[in-house]
Amino acid sequence: MLTVDLERLGVAPGDWLLDAGCGGGRHCFGALERGARVAGIDLDRDGLALTRAGLAERGGAAGALQADVFRLPFADGAFDRILCSEVMEHVHDYRGAIRELVRVLRPGGTIGVTIPTATSEWLYLALSRLYFESPGGHIRVFRPRDLARGLSAAGVRVDGVSFAHSLHTPYWAVRALIGLDDERPAPTRWLRRFLLLASQSRVWSRVERVGDWIWPKSLVLYGTRVASGSA
């Protein structure tokens, strides 16, 4: 299941899409299957290897690159669509990261940025300090308006918001409770298995959409880069 809705982002055949923080490449694959040209970047080499292999398998103009969101290796305005999933909570200067993303987005192009919801983050923090103290962990609890302000300051008009992944909320609560650094305990494995099966089930997808109104794990802001000068 994709965090960012590619339809809502307006991904069309021939578009150049940047997936900043591509992980194992699920959004990249979705965009490529819609006929877009895709660049996936991440710092994690294992995820990039999966992304590269998946892109090569599907064919089309695409690539996986190791790059830093603060120093993107792309020309100004190179992309029609940008998505950035679960990156901002890991970086100190999120405003700088947003500015650099917007630099490579063409005027009129669209961007979707996801962050964990503050309520779910406070829950995990209450259950385990490790959630914020482990290396590569989250460093900040975001409020949606902070992200919205960061986007506006960079010249992006915020068009809408959506919520996702409520089924992941109990999973991370259990992880925070019984061990974040250990994926082996039985409840963790059962819940992972459940999430995998649920992601393929229509009924559970519906349950998740209802849950997204109550206790979502992620929040997505969608925006459009306004023409330069009118920001």
Binding site: A39, R45, L48, G63, P73
Partner: protein
């Protein structure tokens, strides 16, 4: 593993933001402006400034000559 030519068109050096030269046989990218050389491992360009190798002006010129002049 060859880099996609369309991807190459939008790639720039993360430091200078200038176009990169692609050395396909040796699998690296080079920026004549910053003189930074970025390796490509298993088809994945490592476009991190701190991981790049900075060439001296002689090394950079030798590379440019091999590439047949300045990048377009």
């Amino acid at each position: 593993m060859v880099l996609d030519p369309q991807l190459l068109e939008i790639l720039v050096c993360p430091k200078s933001k200038k176009p990169l030269l692609y050395f396909e046989a040796e699998q690296f990218l080079f920026c004549p402006d910053s003189r930074l050389k970025y390796r490509i491992e298993d088809g994945i360009p490592i476009l991190l400034v701190e991981e790049a190798e900075e060439l001296d002006s002689a090394g950079a010129e030798a590379l440019l000559e091999r590439a047949g002049g300045a990048p377009g």
